[in-house]
């Protein structure tokens, strides 16, 4: 019985999830479905930056890629900007959001700001902050 139960559990889990992640098996994960990300889509690794669902109006309202892009450009808090970048990175095919060269430059500037802040130790894991 002890040998059968795990196999049954695996079968159930595989049936539930097996087909929803075909892209992952081919090398390109379907990012919105990745584990490691909470239902609100925010990186849920214990040490990763987070944004509250209310920050973008809840899970279903105002949390789409276009909303997040808008919030990314409106946000002033670098930690929240970084959380939004991480959130957008979990979404498939976001390139078109930044097709406008001006938007792309703003995005690149934000990523560079994050890079420098991490390098200088100004942006680091939440639990390490005083």
């Amino acid at each position: 019985m002890r040998r059968i139960l795990p196999a049954v559990a695996l079968l159930v889990v595989a049936c539930a999830w097996g087909l929803r992640d075909t892209a992952t098996r081919r090398g390109h994960p379907a990012p919105a479905d990745r584990p490691g990300y909470s239902e609100a889509g925010v990186v849920s690794h214990a040490s990763a930056p987070e944004i509250a669902p209310t920050d973008c109006g809840g899970r279903d309202a105002g949390c789409g890629p276009a909303d997040l892009k808008r919030r990314l450009f409106e946000e002033t808090d670098l930690r929240k900007k970084w959380a939004i970048v991480c959130r957008l990175a979990t979404m498939p095919e976001t390139e078109h959001l930044f097709a406008d060269p001006a938007d792309r430059r703003r995005l690149d500037a934000i990523i560079e700001e994050v890079r420098l802040a991490i390098k200088r130790g100004e942006l680091k894991e939440a639990q390490e902050e005083p």
Binding site: S47, R115, K119
Partner: protein, 376 residues
């Protein structure tokens, strides 16, 4: 979330059960080979201590023992000579195998390396046996994805079966890829959970995830590019700091290598469908590329996009190869591309001379599709 957590535990339980029951037995393969040391590794179904008899002739003469009772057998051979052939016999209760290998070269001695991209535990990778034997490389570097589901040990068994013609005799260094983290159903587990099997089976230097290998006049650097499965501060903070330190050391005027070659999984520049992972790659380029450019990295090797490509940007050569899975459609415009092929499975063979490195995309039938030369 609770349901997901329970399901993950159940999957892990099921996996553990299958790993214990399956007749897993693979190796020997060679890890962390340097100019003066090496690890002989193999995996068995039951744990035990491990012994390796080794020496300069098939009569051996020296013995190394690892008393840890494990299924993943890893025996260190210290005190070796550079660029020298050693014979060995790996022994554990359920396993005996013999082989021979060369230690890495020092100085500016000529050597070859082979780069694997996208093996994906495809049977086709077995077809490169003759080409790899003909190359007679001192090391094989693998940008991954080595297997489809990194947490399924049986796939590693299959992989080492496919490369069994050369893996007992050539230093093998693998990087972490996104499939390293995958459960049997294709779901990845983030962080250290996802790298559990990789770290058990591999015996890479350092933290086994980002590390350096010096062979002759070339410094190889393996980095983990899958920041999106990890704590991003660890990959983009700790790892990037480490990378900069290694690059500083490699350019400080003391025993500097002529060439610096980085191997990682996700390509920085590619004609593949990178638009699917637009932000992942934008972030990766922002963090890594300034270091590659500033410290004069010569070559960046990768896989992931299932094609063979050579790009050149700001003096840095970017190459991806695909020996297993191949055939993603072109997607993203890559203005730096000089050659691209998404039809023919290839390995990349590097010939490293004192003042140049010739890299060739070689098919399983031995045809050279394209070559480029890297100069310092």
């Amino acid at each position: 979330m609770r349901k997901v957590g329970i399901a993950i535990v159940l999957v892990l339980g099921a996996h553990r059960s299958s790993a214990q029951d399956a007749p897993i037995l693979f190796g020997p393969y060679l890890q962390s080979v340097t100019t003066t040391s090496a690890y002989v590794c193999w995996v068995t179904a039951s744990p035990s201590a491990s012994t390796v008899n080794y020496g300069l002739t098939p009569a051996y003469g020296s013995t190394a023992v690892n008393l840890d009772s494990k299924r993943e057998h890893q025996v260190a051979l210290p005190g070796l000579l550079p660029n020298t052939v050693y014979y060995y016999e790996a022994v554990s209760p359920a396993f005996t195998a013999t082989g021979s290998f060369k230690t890495l070269v020092d100085g500016t001695t000529f050597f070859r390396f082979v780069h694997l991209g996208e093996p994906h535990v495809e049977e086709a990778i077995a077809g490169f046996a003759e080409e790899i034997a003909a190359a007679d490389p001192h090391l094989v570097v693998d940008s991954s994805d080595t297997v489809d589901h990194g947490l399924v040990r049986a796939e590693w068994d299959t992989f080492f079966g496919y490369v069994g013609s050369w893996s007992p005799g050539v230093a093998y260094y693998a990087a972490v890829g996104n499939h390293t983290y995958n459960l049997a159903n294709g779901w990845p587990l983030p962080g250290s959970l996802g790298k559990r099997e990789f770290k058990k089976i591999m015996r890479n230097p350092g933290n086994e995830e980002w590390y350096t290998v010096r062979c002759g006049n070339t410094l190889f650097i393996s980095i983990n590019s899958t920041w999106y499965f990890e704590n991003p501060f660890r990959i983009l903070g700790t790892q990037v700091d480490w990378l900069e330190t290694q690059l500083q050391l490699a350019t400080d005027g003391t025993d500097d290598p002529t060439f610096i070659a980085v191997y990682m999984h996700v390509p920085m520049y590619s004609s593949g469908p990178g638009y699917r992972e637009f932000l992942e790659r934008a972030v990766m380029r922002a963090f890594f590329e300034p270091l590659f450019t500033e410290y004069g990295v010569d070559l960046v090797l990768s896989g992931h996009d299932k094609m063979n490509e050579h790009s050149l940007k700001d003096g840095v050569h970017y190459a991806q190869s695909a020996c297993g899975e191949i055939g993603y459609a072109f997607g993203t415009a890559n203005p730096y591309s000089l050659f691209v092929n998404n039809v023919d499975r290839c390995v990349l063979v590097g010939e490293v001379y004192p003042d140049s490195m010739v890299c060739s995309f070689v098919t399983a039938s031995g045809s050279v599709l394209y070559s480029f030369t890297v100069t310092p």
